[in-house]
Each structure stands twice: as structure tokens, then as C-alpha cells.
């Protein structure tokens, strides 16, 4: 299922590389899938650049916990409705955060569609999205006072 990367993925990769230089690691996985890895300092710049390229909405946002590497990754999956040649593409913008104090500027001002997804990542992984318009619990009960449940160190005895 590895196919030769087609040109549009390479074009996007080149544009991102030009804009962010060594601050971003760009990788084309296959036709229709590529990723951009950045540190939190460059998240907003990367987002604005990708938005200018035509990535007009976030199809999803996911947190991932890597306790052994002491980091939390927030992945924004981006795609486009307005540019036909990008419609087949899912670009994952991965923001690397420190696990002790995971905090990054919100990207809801760039993609409003990330709003509820960021709230979910906030309650499930404890990621603080600075400047989020309404950073409150979404799915969890109001009285939940345990650790962020999707972190790997929360073990559920019944499931062990």
C-alpha cells in the first residue's frame, strides 16, 4: 500500500518546508496521507500557514500519551473542502508537548471546527489550550476529580 507520493503531497511538503524551515519535520507517508511535526512554539504559525494553503477545517483532533518519552502529542487532522486537489488528503499536524505541563495555544481561532475536539483533549489528556473560548469538561462528569483518564498511568483494574 505504499505508493509513490504524488505531486500535490510534495507541493504541500515543499510549501510547509519553505515557510517553517527546520522548525517542522514534514513527511509524506503515501498518497493522501502526510504529517507535519512541530514544537508548541511553532504550532500557530504552522496552522496559519496550512490554512493559507487551503486546509480549511480540522476533521479531528487527538491526544496521544507517550509516558516513556515524557511527551504528549496533540494531532490535528486537516483536510480541505474548498480546494479540490486537497480533498483526498489528510494532513496530520502533530504538536509535541511536555508531559509534565502540556500546554499550547489554541488553534480554534484558526479552525473553529477544532473547538469540541480541543475540549476533549483537555479533559482526557490534561492539555491546556491557551486562549480557548470555553475550555471546560465535555464528556466527563462535572465531579470527576481523577487524573486525565486517557493518560496511560490511569489503569482500570477491571480491564487489567
Amino acid at each position: 500500500m505504499t505508493s509513490k507520493p504524488s505531486t500535490i503531497e510534495q507541493d504541500v511538503a515543499a510549501a510547509v518546508g519553505e515557510q517553517l524551515g527546520s522548525a517542522a519535520q514534514v513527511k509524506v507517508d503515501r498518497k493522501g496521507r502526510m504529517s507535519v511535526v512541530v514544537l508548541r512554539e511553532f504550532a500557530r504559525d504552522a496552522a496559519l500557514g496550512l490554512q493559507r494553503l487551503g486546509f480549511d477545517h480540522a476533521i479531528a483532533v487527538s491526544g496521544v500519551d507517550y509516558p516513556s518519552e515524557k511527551r504528549i502529542e496533540v494531532v490535528y487532522f486537516l483536510s480541505s473542502y474548498s480546494r479540490d486537489d486537497l480533498k483526498h488528503l489528510v494532513l496530520s499536524l502533530k504538536v509535541q508537548l511536555d508531559r509534565e505541563n502540556p500546554s499550547m495555544p489554541t488553534l480554534t481561532s484558526v479552525w473553529e471546527s477544532a473547538n469540541f475536539f480541543e475540549r476533549e483533549a483537555y479533559e482526557m489528556f490534561g492539555v491546556n489550550f491557551e486562549g480557548h473560548p470555553n475550555l471546560q469538561k465535555l464528556l466527563l462528569q462535572d465531579n470527576w476529580d481523577g487524573p486525565p483518564p486517557m493518560r496511560k498511568d490511569l489503569k482500570i483494574p477491571e480491564l487489567a
Binding site: D56, H57, S62, F77, K87, F116, F117, L140, L154, I156
Partner: protein, 360 residues
């Protein structure tokens, strides 16, 4: 300005529990805040501690009206990581089940909106009666009416049973004969049209900005469908259209579903005619190899994605489910703002929102 806060729910308005906190000024909604999570079950957390095969039924349950799409979306990234390709006959059978499922789900959604939320009991009876025939087909193929859990990494569990083709074609003919009746009683019915037209308008730019998917975004004039944009299964081998409407109101969203049923009938006829002989599944290892993959499947409620990370064991390291209802939730507060309280049910119904799928 004196406003009144209304607490709508938590209740089961037609497809699961959710609550909307509404601030009203007279008859108009000033602000609406959805409060979800009443049916949150921690599916993603549970999935991390279970074998990938045992996960299949659990991860399909959040939307029993759309089981096959959630199923496909979950197994597709695993297959990608395992580098297992589903044989062509398997892909045809998956497409057939998914389209049967789509018609059944759209009939359900249309019935709930027109039947429950706007009080046309006849539509409810029409939709649910005809949907039963499609569930019979699904039962014939999978053994279950709703909870199929039919797709496993590598293919499908069973081949088409004897007499399936005849029964499918017979059912499609019947549904097709019924569509003009639905058209006559609802689509061309001034009472229903007046109830839904111009209510809850979502313009194209807002639909894109809010990241809505499926019939919601297509009802706002955006021509997009994963089945065309990034074809999977055998959608690149069958001929079909993407129905869109420009108005962006509740009626358009309802009509998109109505038109999509016709397209699904056409897809099913082509698929059952062209299906090749051959194996239905390939052997696949019961491990998720190290790596990550994300799927894109066009479910009845729009594009869904499963983001799966593997660490080489038989359990996924992380499963993120992104469902159509959760994505379309962003449109709800936007549409309700400024609407009349009396229009709230029909706007909610037009999104075909499925709380369990959103809460997971």
C-alpha cells in the same frame, strides 16, 4: 433585556440522551449550549486493553444504526498497518452491506426528523416499515439486524448466502416503488415544506468553517463525499452522483438523505451485478504492527475516522474515534442562535445527531 434560561434535557429526544441549555428572549433563542457526555462509556480507553478482534463489537455499538461504517473505519487502519489487502469480493460485500446500512440509516433519520420532531406520524411509520426490509437483508447476510460486527481485518466473516441477490433486487424494487409515495406525502407536501424550509440556515462558508460533514455539509452546497474524494471499497468502480443542495436549511439536509437513498439503490444494483467470484477474506495476523494509520469512511452521518496506533502487540496503543455526529455538533449552537424555540426540534432533527456516537 430580560432573558429566561431553559434546560432542555437531559432527555432522549429520539436517538439518545443529551441536553441543551438554552437562553431565550421571548420566543427566540439567544444562546444555546449543548451539554453532551451522558452516554459516554470510555470506548477509547477500554479499546486500549482489549485484543483488536474483541474490540470490534464494542467499537461498533456507539451507533447501532450505522454499525458497518464504524466497523469498516476501525478495521481499515489495522489492515493498512498489517499490509493486508482485502480481496475484491470482500470489498464488494463490504460495499453492499454499507449501502444497505446507509439506506436503513437515512430512512431512520428522515423518519425521526419528519416523524418525531415535526409530528408527521405517517412518515415515521413509512420510514420504519420500509427500513425493516433492509434490516431483513442485513440479517440474511450477517445474522444480525443492527449489530453486524461483520468486517474483520482482512475481509468479511461470511459470503453472500444463497438467494441473497434475488432478495436484494426485490427489496430495492420495493423501496424504489415506495419513494414516490414518500415524495407525494412529504417532499411535495406544503405543510412539511413550510415547517422545514428556511429553518436553521447553514451557509456554505459556515458549514466549512464549522467542519460539518455528510448530509449537513452537502445540504449547504459543498460537493464532498469521501466515497468520491478518496475512494475505498469499490466506490471507484460504481457510478453514482453526490446530491447537494444550495439552500443550507433543514429541508435541504432532509432532501440530501432522500436523494442519497436513490444513489445507494443504484450502487447496490451495480455492485450485486458486478461482484466477482473469489475469496472473501485474507488471513491477517492478530497484532497491530508498530506505526499509525487513520481511516476515512463516509458514514450515513458523514466522514468518520479512526486513528489507530500500534505497538506490535495484539492490543492497539491508542484508538481515536471521530464520528460524524461529534463533528456536526459544532453546527448545533450556531444554528440554534437566533432561531425560534419551536424550531429547535426540527433543527436538531435535521442534523441526524446520534448522541451515543458523539459521546462514545
Amino acid at each position: 433585556m430580560s432573558t429566561l434560561d431553559l434546560n432542555v434535557g437531559p432527555q432522549h429526544p429520539g436517538s439518545g440522551h443529551m441536553r441543551i441549555m438554552v437562553r431565550t428572549d421571548g420566543d427566540f433563542i439567544v444562546e444555546a449550549t449543548p451539554d453532551i457526555g451522558f452516554v459516554h462509556r470510555g470506548c477509547e480507553k477500554i479499546a486500549e486493553s482489549r485484543n483488536i478482534i474483541k474490540n470490534i463489537p464494542m467499537l461498533c455499538r456507539p451507533n447501532i444504526a450505522d454499525d458497518s461504517h464504524l466497523n469498516w473505519s476501525y478495521v481499515a487502519p489495522i489492515e493498512e498497518l498489517q499490509r493486508v489487502e482485502v480481496p475484491e469480493r470482500g470489498r464488494y460485500i463490504r460495499t453492499i452491506l454499507c449501502e444497505i446500512n446507509r439506506i436503513a440509516s437515512h430512512l431512520y433519520g428522515m423518519s425521526i426528523m419528519a416523524g418525531i420532531f415535526s409530528g408527521h406520524t405517517t412518515m415515521y411509520m413509512f420510514g420504519f416499515g420500509d427500513r425493516e426490509l433492509l434490516l431483513d437483508l442485513a440479517e440474511m447476510l450477517t445474522g444480525a439486524r443492527l449489530t453486524f460486527s461483520f468486517f474483520v481485518p482482512g475481509g468479511v466473516r461470511r459470503d453472500l448466502p444463497k438467494g441473497f441477490k434475488e432478495k436484494l433486487l426485490e427489496t430495492l424494487d420495493h423501496i424504489e416503488r415506495r419513494l414516490p409515495a414518500i415524495d407525494r406525502i412529504f417532499v411535495s407536501n406544503p405543510v412539511f415544506i413550510e415547517r422545514a424550509r428556511g429553518v436553521g440556515i447553514l451557509r456554505e462558508e459556515d458549514a466549512i468553517r464549522l467542519g460539518t460533514v455528510g448530509p449537513v455539509v452537502r445540504g449547504s452546497g459543498v460537493r464532498c463525499d469521501v466515497r468520491k474524494d478518496a475512494p475505498y471499497g469499490v466506490y471507484d468502480k460504481v457510478d453514482f452522483e453526490i446530491p447537494t443542495f444550495q439552500e443550507g436549511d433543514s429541508l435541504s439536509r432532509w432532501l440530501v438523505r432522500f436523494e442519497e437513498i436513490k444513489q445507494s439503490i443504484s450502487i447496490l444494483r451495480q455492485a450485486i451485478q458486478d461482484i466477482p467470484k473469489g475469496p472473501i477474506a485474507r488471513k491477517s495476523p492478530i497484532v497491530v504492527p508498530k506505526g499509525e494509520a487513520v481511516s476515512r469512511i463516509e458514514s450515513s452521518r458523514g466522514e468518520i475516522n479512526h486513528y489507530i496506533l500500534g505497538d506490535g502487540s495484539d492490543k492497539p496503543y491508542r484508538v481515536k474515534m471521530n464520528t460524524g455526529s461529534f463533528k456536526n455538533l459544532s453546527a448545533l449552537p450556531f444554528l440554534l442562535k437566533g432561531a425560534r424555540i419551536g424550531d429547535m426540534p426540527i433543527i436538531y432533527g435535521s442534523l441526524d445527531y446520534w448522541p451515543v456516537e458523539a459521546d462514545r
